[in-house]
């Protein structure tokens, strides 16, 4: 296990070191100490390494991640895992706004709650939140899957495209063009796999699926009131 003390080494050295690992590196286990809420920790990684951050992080932790598995042993600030391409990011605590924003692949797991705009503009990422999510989550979400084991706030899935949303608890309100949909066997299977990968023992059968009504896909004056 390699250890980097962020306070001691500084952000540039930390990211440069982690980014320079290639796909067959022997240094596969990394521990980052003293993150102290710093921004842009472990961004732009592109190797199958495990990075554990001992403490809470600021904005954009794990941004644009490829391949790496990153664990935040604390809570994460805004935009954690933004535009993630692949790999896995696990937040042991809570996540702030825009968790997984525009993510294109990989899995983001939030063991606590996520704030507003979780999964905004998501483009293929899978997100599993063990707790609740805030308002405007999955706004303009294009593809991928958002799983919420708790409750969702206002305007879930507003202006949704093809992303799939599963919520176990209550949904305060649905956004424009987001509707409740039937759970078919393939959705149960998808959910089972994601919950298992995310370390949740929730039962897929207890979730409700939401998705796009696809009524706003083409301009129609009769839909103007929906915006």
């Amino acid at each position: 296990m390699q250890t980097i003390d962020l306070e001691d080494q500084g952000l540039r050295a930390l990211n440069e070191t982690l980014q320079s690992q290639d796909s067959d590196t022997n240094q596969t286990e990394w521990l980052v100490t003293n993150p102290r809420g710093s921004h842009a920790i472990a961004v732009g990684l592109d190797a199958p390494i495990d990075v554990t951050i001992k403490g809470s992080t600021g904005y954009y932790c794990g941004g644009m991640n490829k391949q790496a598995s990153i664990t935040v042993d604390g809570s994460a600030g805004p935009g954690v895992a933004e535009n993630m391409m692949s790999g896995k990011i696990v937040i042991e605590g809570d996540a702030s706004q825009y968790a997984g924003a525009t993510g294109r692949g990989g899995l983001l797991v939030i063991k606590g709650n996520a704030s507003s705009r979780c999964g905004i503009s998501m483009k293929g990422i899978n997100i599993v939140v063990h707790g609740n999510i805030g308002h405007m989550s999955a706004f303009m979400a294009q593809s991928g899957t958002l799983v919420v084991c708790g409750d969702a706030g206002d305007a879930l899935g507003d202006s949704l495209y093809e992303a799939r949303l599963f919520v176990r608890g209550s949904v305060k309100s649905l956004g424009a063009d987001c509707i409740k949909k039937d759970m078919r066997p393939e959705h149960i299977e998808l959910l089972r796999g994601l919950l298992e990968e995310a370390g949740s023992d929730a039962r897929p059968e207890d979730f409700t699926r939401y998705g796009s009504a696809r009524k706003l896909y083409h301009f129609d004056i009769d839909n103007a009131g929906a915006y």
């Binding site: 952000l11 540039r12 990211n15 440069e16 980014q19 921004h39 842009a40 961004v43 732009g44 592109d46 600021g58 904005y59 954009y60 941004g63 644009m64 490829k66 805004p78 935009g79 933004e82 535009n83 391409m85 706004q97 825009y98 924003a101 525009t102 294109r104 705009r117 905004i120 503009s121 483009k123 293929g124 706004f139 303009m140 294009q142 593809s143 202006s159 495209y161 093809e162 896909y217 083409h218 301009f219 004056i221």
Partner: protein, 451 residues
């Protein structure tokens, strides 16, 4: 003449009122009312503001005289190079000419059109820019210097393209629609475009108007930090704003850590936006330059953070005027499209068939561009030869540069950046006030000093 005619001389018709068109309800206005009434949806179109606003045409250079001496036109050197991104980036961009090609998306434009822009810009020693649709091989392969736009939609965004870009442009807004997002209507969402944007083919796509993971200048500072960390602090980071509040927008962009600020006035184009937005939101390019320069000067950052001005730049005279007002470079979009063949009269019959005429065609969102530029239709796309298009753009950029040099030499300047507001006068009070230069024949700069 018979008796009847004698007794009944012809009565002259009383003079009639001449038909007078209303200036308020003009024919174009009435046509728009009828169009709105018939369709129930606002007009969407491409391009920038078509209305007349104070512009570079309203400025003149004074030239050399008793107190200024000129440089020899064909003998004495007049430099045109510019370096962008010298503030923080490890690898600033060096351009031979102070004219760059602005961001236009693949999707809005065809692949061959993007290739033509890349070829032309490269041959002229300057950069070109991606757009809302992500980075294509056509443009990366043919652009020696490529600026990668970081937009609210983040279509196709990925760290590999960030790293193979030569600079990153964080787009906050654009002149045609400060505060608005892009649109790409279903006709142009081909399978390839849809795939690059992670969207279903054929839908009407509305791009976000706000970035999904930051909301203000304090957040932007952190976002820029993240982008620099991902790219090893190599790339210059531009921040592009629409011409809304240029003094404050420039100030905040600099505070957020921009290497370069791009200010785009209302004549700057768009692929598809509501006409009401294009014509009624934002300030003319001319009105944006001095406030942006003042912001840089007040921060002690003029020339350290470079300013690129865009929106309606058409000639070397426009370039020289923008630089004289304090810009480091200009950017062209609409003019570059025209150079490679947009709105060319050779397609007049096709324009007529679409109910328009060469020069006025702006329904770029419909994907039927006779010139093959703003389309994803393979047959139309084939009308543009990217090699020939690139050559034409190269020629045009060279001409603009020669023109700017001609003016700079006449003003006695050995670098186009040495042009200054004192080299200019204005033809109208409005232009004098906006550009902060005296009205021709007077020493009056409206808005500075008292009457």
């Amino acid at each position: 003449m018979d008796d009847h005619q004698k007794n009944n001389p012809p009565r002259t018709m009383p003079p009639r009122t001449m038909p007078i068109q209303s200036a308020t309800f003009s024919n174009p206005v009435n046509a728009e009312i009828r169009r709105a009434a018939a369709t129930g949806i606002y007009d969407i179109r491409g391009g920038g503001a078509k209305r007349r606003v104070p512009h570079f045409d309203d400025l003149l250079f004074l030239g050399a005289s008793m107190s200024r001496y000129p440089l020899e036109g064909y003998r004495e050197k007049c430099e045109t190079s510019v370096t962008l991104g010298s503030r923080f980036a490890k690898k600033p961009i060096h351009l031979d000419i102070p004219i760059t090609v602005a961001g236009m998306s693949f999707g809005a434009l065809s692949g061959p059109a993007k290739e033509a822009l890349g070829r032309g810009a490269t041959m002229a020693g300057t950069s070109t820019t991606t757009g809302d649709g992500g980075m294509t091989e056509e443009e990366r392969g043919h652009s020696e210097k490529l600026i990668y736009q970081y937009l609210p939609s983040r279509y196709g965004m990925n760290p590999d393209d960030l790293r193979r870009a030569d600079a990153i442009e964080v787009v906050v807004g654009q002149g045609a629609k400060p505060g608005g997002g892009g649109m790409l209507l279903g006709q142009k969402i081909s399978d390839r475009v849809a795939d690059m944007r992670d969207l279903p083919p054929g839908i009407d796509q509305r791009s976000a108007c706000r970035h999904p993971d930051w909301t203000g200048p304090d957040d932007l500072e952190i976002k820029i930090l993240e982008l620099r960390e991902i790219t090893g602090w190599e790339k210059p980071i531009y921040v592009k704003v629409g011409g809304a509040r240029p003094y404050f927008d420039t100030t905040l962009a600099v505070k957020a850590g921009a290497d370069v600020v791009v200010v785009d006035g209302m004549q700057g184009g768009t692929a598809a936006t509501q006409d009401v937005f294009i014509e009624n939101v934002g300030q003319p390019t001319l009105a944006c330059i001095r406030p942006a320069v003042k912001a840089l000067q007040d921060l002690g950052m003029h020339r350290e953070v470079q300013l690129i001005v865009s929106g309606g730049v058409r000639s070397g005279a426009d370039v020289a005027k923008a630089l004289a007002l304090g810009a480091d470079a200009v950017s062209i979009g609409s003019a570059a499209m025209i150079a490679i063949g947009d709105n060319d009269p050779r397609w007049e019959d096709d324009y007529n068939a679409l109910g328009t005429t060469a020069g006025a065609y702006d329904d770029w969102h419909e994907g039927n561009d006779p010139a093959g530029i703003t389309t994803q239709d393979p047959a139309l796309m084939a009308r543009l030869d990217p090699v020939e298009g690139g050559r034409r753009l190269r020629n045009y950029l060279k001409v603009m540069t020669l023109e700017a040099q001609t003016i700079a030499r006449a003003c006695g300047k050995n670098h186009v950046h040495n042009l200054e507001p004192e080299d200019l006068c204005a033809l109208t009070i409005e232009a004098a006030a906006m550009a902060g230069v005296p009205l021709a024949g007077t020493s009056w700069i409206p808005g500075s000093g008292s009457f």
